[in-house]
C-alpha cells in the first residue's frame, strides 16, 4: 500500500517535471542554432528529455513489482 502510494507520488512528480521540461522558459535555452553530433540542439534536447521522462516513468512503475 505504501509502495503504491509512493509510485503515485513519483509519477505526479514526473508529470510536473515534464511540464517544466517541455515549456517556456527551459525550452528557450535550447532554441538556438547549434548542434550536438550534427543533430540540431533543440531537436536533440526535446528527444533526450522525452526519452528520459519515459524511462523514468517506466522505472517508477516497473520497479514497484519487485
Amino acid at each position: 500500500m505504501h509502495r503504491r502510494m509512493r509510485t503515485g507520488e513519483r509519477l505526479v512528480a514526473a508529470f510536473l517535471g515534464g511540464c517544466v521540461l517541455f515549456n517556456y522558459p527551459l525550452l528557450s535555452l535550447f532554441d538556438r542554432a547549434a548542434s550536438v553530433f550534427g543533430v540540431p540542439l533543440l531537436y536533440a534536447y526535446v528527444f533526450v528529455a522525452w526519452g528520459g521522462l519515459i524511462a523514468l516513468m517506466a522505472w517508477f512503475i516497473e520497479r514497484r513489482g519487485e
Binding site: G8, F22, S35, L42, Y43
Partner: protein, 922 residues
C-alpha cells in the same frame, strides 16, 4: 507494378486480414480466452491516437514549423504520467456504472440527464467530423498519388469532381461498411469489442513499422545520416529556421496550447475513451501502458524531422505537398515495396481511427440521441412485446454511415483549405470542451446538470464561432469578410480576434475563449443551486469511485418491481436470449436456482438498469426501468441520509474493526489480569495461612505456659521464672511479627511513608553496626568494616535503610558459627551508585534456596542449626525497601563458604521527585 488493380487488391487483402484478426479475437473472447489481455496490446490499442495526422501530417507540420508537431505527443506523454489517477478513476466509474461512451459518462454523472447526453453527442459528432474528413483526405490523397506512379502528381481539387467519381466518397463508404461489420455485429451490454481491439493493435504495429522504415530509408538510404541532413538543411536558406525556432511564428503560447489540447484529447476523444476505458479488460494493464504508449509516440516521431527536411531538400521548388513526403520520397526513389508498405501504414492509421471513432460515436448517437427520441414516442414504450435489439443495431449502423458521410461532406467543403494537422486541431479543440464537465464531475461534487449544460454549450458555441466557421470561410463557403470584419461588421466580434484579442494563433485563441466561457459557465451556473437528489447520488458514485466501501447504486433506489417485467424489458433491447443468460448469471451469483426464484429487489433492479445502460445509455435505461418498476422517488434529504449512512457505516465498520481488535486485546489482558489476580489470591491465601501459622506458634507456647502456671500453683520458683521469661519473649516475637506484617502490607500496597533525605551511607552503616554490636559479642563473632571516605551521598529514607542494615547484620549473626564467626561489611562505589556487602562465614545458602529466602515466611534453616528465630519477613521487606529507591538486593553464596548479601543503591533514584513530594506532605 503499382496500379489501380494492385492498390485495390492490396487494400482489400489488408482489410480482410484485419477482419480475420478481429473475427478470431471475438471467437477467442467468446471462448473466454482473450487475446487482448496484455498491457502491450492495451498500449498498442491506445496508439489509435496516431492517425494519418501523425503518419502523413506530422511531416507536413514539421516542414512548416520545425518541431512544432511535437506538443501533440508531449501532452499525452505527460497525461499518461497521471493515468494511474485519472484514467483509473474513469475506468472504475465506467465499469461500475456500465458506461459505454463519454456522452453516457457525462449524462450519468449529472443525474442521468438525456439533455446533457444529447448535447455531448452533438458536440462530439460535429467536433469529430473534421477529424474524419482528415482521414478521408489523407487516404484519398495517397491513393491518387499511387495511381500516378511513377510520376508524382499532386491531387486535383476533388471538389470539382462529381461525387460518384470521387475516390474519397467510395473510401468513405468502404470504411463505413467495414466499421459496421467490425463493430455492430451484435449488441452487448458492455459494448466491448475484443476483436476490434486486436485488429487496432495490429494496425498500430503496421503503421509504426512502416513509418520507421521510411525514416530509416530517408535518413540512411537517401542521405548519410541525421548529421548529413541537418548540415545540408543548414546550408539551404529557409530550412535553417526549422531546426531552431520553436513553433514558427506562434511562440510558446501556441506550443503550450497544443500540449494542453493533446493532453485533454488523449482522455476525452471518443475513440480514446473507447479503447482506454470501455475496452479495458484489466485495470492493471493501465500501469505498463502508462509508459509503453508514450514510448510508442516517441518512436513514431523519431524520424519526422529528418523526413521533412529530406523532402524539402529533395523536392525543392517542385511544389510537392509536405503532407505527402512520407509517400512521395519512396516514390521518387522508385522504392515500390516501401511505397506499398507506406500506403498500407497510412491505410492502417486511417482505418483504425475511423473504425474506433465511428463505433464510439454511433454508440453515443444511438444511446444518447436516438433512444431518448424514440422513448418519447409512447407507442414504442408501451408495446412491450417488441424486440428492439434489431432496431438498436440499425440505428447504430445508420449512424456510422451518416458520420462518415458528414466527414466526406466536410472534406468536400473545407478539406482543401487546410493542412492535415490544422483540421485535426479543430477536432481537438472541440473535444477539449468536455474537460471541465468530465474533470469537474470526477473531482467536484458541486457540479450540476445545468452547470454542465451551460459550460458545454458556451464552450461549444465559442469553438464553432472561432474555429469551425472560419474553416468554412477560408474554404469560400462563407463570405470572407465575416473573418476580416466580424459578424455584422462588428470588429469586436471578429471570430479569430474575439473582443480584440490578438497576437495568438487561432488554436490558442479558441482554447482561451472557449475555456473561459466553458469553465466560467460550468462553475457559475453550478453554484446557483445545490445539487438535486439524483445529482448528489451520482456525484458520490463518481467522485468516490476509487474509495472502497462506497455505496452501491442499488442503495439509492427504493421501490417495487416484478421480475418478469424486468426480464421482458431487458429482453426487448438485448434480445430475449441474452437477457435470459444475463439474469441466469445474476441468479447463479446470488445462489438462486433460476431467475424466476429471485426477488426483484433494489439490487436486481439496479442490475437490470445497468444491463440496459450498456445498450441504450444510462439516462434511457433509467426511464425504461422506471416504466416497469414502481420507484418511490427519494428526496434529496433521503439521498443525503443514505449517502451519509453509507459513509457512517464505513466509519462504523472501521470503528467496529478497531473496537473488535481492542476487545480481543482487552479480553487477553483481562484473562492475564484474572490469572494474575488468581495468583495474587492464592498468594494472599498463602500469606494469610502463613501469618496465621506464624501467629499461632508463639500463641501456642504462651497459652501452654500460662495454663501450666495457672493450673499448678506448686510449681518450683525456678520453673515459674523460666516459663514467665518464655512467655514474655514469645509475646515480643508476636509483637515483632505483627509489626512486620503490617509494615510489609503497607509497603506492598504503596501506603508506606517514605522520608527521603541526603544520606551518608558510611555513617549509616557505622551506626547500624554499633546497634548490633551486642549481638556479635554474645556470639563471640568479629566484625570487619571496609568503609572508604569521601563517597557521594545518596537520597533515601534513613530509618528504612537502617532497617535493612540491621536486618542483614542480625541475619548474618544468626547463622555464624559460634566462637569464630566473622562478618565483613564493605561499602564501595560502582557505576551510578553505591554497593554495600555483608559477608559472613556461616554455612552458606544452597542455590535453590537463594530465591526462596526472599519470599515471605520462607525461612531456610539447617539441620545443624536451630531454627532461625526470625519472622521470615526481614529479607522480603529489606528487598522492597532497596527496590523502592531504585536499587537491588541479592545474595551470593555457595554451601559451606558463607553467604554475602549485597545491595546496590543508585545515586539518583528514579522516584526522586516522588520521594521528595512525599517528604513534603508526609
Amino acid at each position: 507494378m503499382l496500379g489501380g488493380g494492385m492498390i485495390v487488391a492490396v487494400s482489400l487483402l489488408y482489410l480482410g486480414l484485419l477482419f480475420a484478426v478481429a473475427w478470431w479475437g471475438d471467437k477467442r473472447a467468446d471462448a473466454g480466452r482473450s487475446i487482448i489481455a496484455s498491457p502491450t496490446i492495451y498500449a498498442l490499442s491506445m496508439a489509435v491516437y496516431c492517425t494519418t495526422w501523425t503518419f502523413y501530417g506530422s511531416v507536413g507540420r514539421a516542414a512548416v514549423s520545425g518541431i512544432g508537431f511535437l506538443p501533440i505527443y508531449l501532452g499525452p506523454t505527460l497525461v499518461m504520467a497521471l493515468a494511474w489517477f485519472l484514467l483509473l478513476k474513469m475506468i472504475r466509474t465506467a465499469k461500475a456504472n456500465r458506461i459505454t461512451s463519454i456522452a453516457d459518462f457525462i449524462s450519468s454523472r449529472y443525474g442521468k440527464s438525456h439533455l446533457l447526453g444529447g448535447l455531448v453527442t452533438i458536440i462530439a459528432v460535429i467536433g469529430i467530423v473534421p477529424y474524419i474528413a482528415l482521414q478521408l483526405k489523407a487516404v484519398s490523397g495517397s491513393v491518387t498519388l499511387l495511381l500516378g506512379y511513377p510520376e508524382i502528381v499532386m491531387p486535383n481539387r476533388s471538389a470539382t469532381l462529381p461525387v460518384a467519381a470521387d475516390i474519397s466518397f467510395w473510401i468513405a463508404l468502404i470504411l463505413a461498411a467495414f466499421t459496421i461489420v467490425f463493430g455492430t455485429r451484435h449488441l452487448d451490454a458492455t459494448e466491448r469489442h475484443e476483436g476490434m481491439v486486436a485488429a487496432i493493435a495490429l494496425e498500430s504495429m503496421v503503421k509504426l513499422v512502416a513509418f520507421l522504415a521510411v525514416g530509416v530509408f530517408v535518413t540512411w538510404g537517401m542521405y548519410d545520416g541525421l548529421a548529413d541532413i541537418a548540415r545540408r538543411a543548414g546550408e539551404a536558406e529557409g530550412l535553417r529556421r526549422l531546426m531552431a525556432a520553436v513553433p514558427s511564428g506562434q511562440g510558446f503560447t501556441g506550443w503550450f496550447s497544443l500540449t494542453l489540447l493533446a493532453g485533454l484529447a488523449i482522455l476525452f476523444l471518443p475513440r480514446q475513451f473507447q479503447v482506454a476505458v470501455v475496452e479495458n479488460v484489466n485495470e492493471e494493464h493501465l500501469r505498463r501502458a502508462a509508459w509503453l504508449f508514450p514510448l510508442y509516440l516517441f518512436l513514431i516521431n523519431l524520424f519526422v524531422l529528418p523526413i521533412a527536411l529530406g523532402g524539402l531538400l529533395h523536392f525543392a521548388g517542385q511544389g510537392v505537398d509536405a503532407d505527402t513526403f512520407v509517400l512521395t520520397l519512396p516514390m521518387a526513389e522508385r522504392q515500390e515495396w516501401l511505397t506499398l508498405l507506406v500506403f498500407i501504414g497510412g491505410l492502417s492509421a486511417a482505418t483504425g481511427m475511423v473504425i474506433v471513432e465511428t463505433i464510439a460515436l454511433s454508440t453515443m448517437v444511438c444511446n444518447d440521441l436516438a433512444m431518448p427520441l424514440l422513448l418519447r414516442m409512447k407507442r414504442l414504450a408501451l408495446d412491450a412485446s417488441e424486440d428492439l435489439s434489431g432496431l438498436l443495431l440499425g440505428i447504430r449502423r445508420g449512424a456510422i454511415v451518416l458520420i462518415l458521410l458528414l466527414g466526406y461532406l466536410y472534406f468536400r467543403l473545407a478539406g482543401e483549405a487546410y493542412a492535415l494537422v490544422a483540421i485535426g486541431l479543430i477536432s481537438f479543440s472541440a473535444v477539449a470542451q468536455f474537460a471541465p464537465a468530465m474533470i469537474g464531475g470526477m473531482y467536484w461534487r458541486g457540479g450540476t446538470r445545468e452547470g454542465a449544460l451551460a459550460g458545454l454549450s458556451a464552450g461549444f458555441l465559442v469553438w464553432a464561432y472561432t474555429l469551425l466557421l472560419p474553416s468554412f470561410a477560408k474554404s469560400g463557403w462563407l463570405p470572407d469578410d465575416f473573418l476580416t470584419q466580424g459578424l455584422f461588421g462588428t470588429e469586436l466580434l471578429r471570430p479569430q480576434q474575439l473582443f480584440g484579442l490578438g497576437g495568438l494563433d487561432e488554436i490558442s485563441h479558441c482554447l482561451f475563449w472557449s475555456m473561459f466561457a466553458n469553465i466560467g459557465c460550468y462553475v457559475a451556473v453550478s453554484l446557483l443551486r445545490a445539487p438535486s437528489a439524483a445529482e448528489a447520488s451520482q456525484a458520490t458514485l463518481f467522485v468516490d469511485a476509487l474509495r472502497h466501501g462506497r455505496p452501491a447504486g442499488a442503495a439509492l433506489w427504493r421501490g417495487r418491481a416484478e421480475i418478469a417485467d424486468l426480464l421482458a424489458l431487458v429482453g426487448r433491447f438485448l434480445g430475449p436470449q441474452r437477457a435470459q443468460a444475463a439474469f441466469a448469471e445474476y441468479a447463479r451469483r446470488h445462489g438462486a436456482a433460476d431467475p424466476e426464484s429471485l426477488e426483484a429487489d433494489a439490487e436486481l433492479v439496479h442490475y437490470a438498469e445497468s444491463l440496459l445502460a450498456g445498450a441504450i445509455g444510462s439516462a434511457s435505461a433509467r426511464v425504461m426501468v422506471a416504466s416497469v418498476a414502481k420507484e418511490e422517488p427519494l428526496s434529496l434529504t433521503e439521498v443525503m441520509n443514505i449517502l451519509d449512512e453509507a459513509s457512517q457505516l464505513r466509519t462504523y465498520s472501521r470503528a467496529l474493526e478497531r473496537k473488535s481488535a481492542e476487545l480481543t486485546a482487552a479480553t487477553r489482558e483481562l484473562k492475564a489480569a484474572n490469572e494474575r489476580l488468581q495468583e495474587l489470591d492464592r498468594l494472599k491465601d498463602d500469606f494469610m495461612s502463613s501469618v496465621t501459622h506464624e501467629l499461632r506458634t508463639p500463641l501456642t507456647s504462651i497459652r501452654a505456659f500460662s495454663e501450666i502456671l495457672r493450673d499448678d500453683p506448686r510449681i518450683a520458683l525456678a520453673d515459674r521464672t523460666r516459663f514467665l521469661g518464655l512467655i514474655v519473649s514469645e509475646t515480643e516475637r508476636l509483637t515483632r511479627l505483627v509489626n512486620q506484617t503490617l509494615d510489609m502490607a503497607k509497603i506492598e500496597s504503596g501506603h508506606a511513608d517514605w522520608h527521603a533525605s541526603e544520606i551518608d551511607l558510611k555513617a549509616l552503616i557505622e551506626q547500624s553496626v554499633a546497634a548490633t554490636s551486642q549481638l556479635f559479642r554474645e556470639k563471640g563473632a568479629r566484625i570487619e568494616l571496609d568503609l572508604p571516605d569521601g563517597l557521594p551521598r545518596i537520597r533515601a529514607d534513613r530509618d528504612r535503610l537502617i532497617q535493612v542494615m540491621l536486618n542483614l547484620l542480625s541475619n548474618a549473626v544468626k547463622f555464624l558459627p559460634a566462637g569464630h564467626g566473622r562478618v565483613r561489611v564493605a561499602l564501595r562505589p560502582c557505576a551510578d551508585g553505591l554497593e554495600v556487602s555483608v559477608a559472613d562465614n556461616g554455612p552458606g545458602i544452597r542455590g535453590e534456596d537463594q530465591q526462596v529466602i526472599f519470599e515471605k515466611f520462607r525461612q531456610v534453616g539447617d539441620a545443624l542449626t536451630d531454627k532461625p528465630a526470625g519472622t521470615g519477613l526481614g529479607l522480603p521487606i529489606s528487598r522492597r525497601i532497596v527496590e523502592h529507591f531504585g536499587g537491588r538486593l541479592w545474595v551470593e553464596s555457595a554451601p559451606g563458604e558463607g553467604a554475602t548479601f549485597r545491595f546496590f543503591l543508585p545515586l539518583a533514584p528514579p522516584g526522586g521527585e516522588e520521594a521528595a513530594r512525599e517528604t513534603a506532605t508526609p
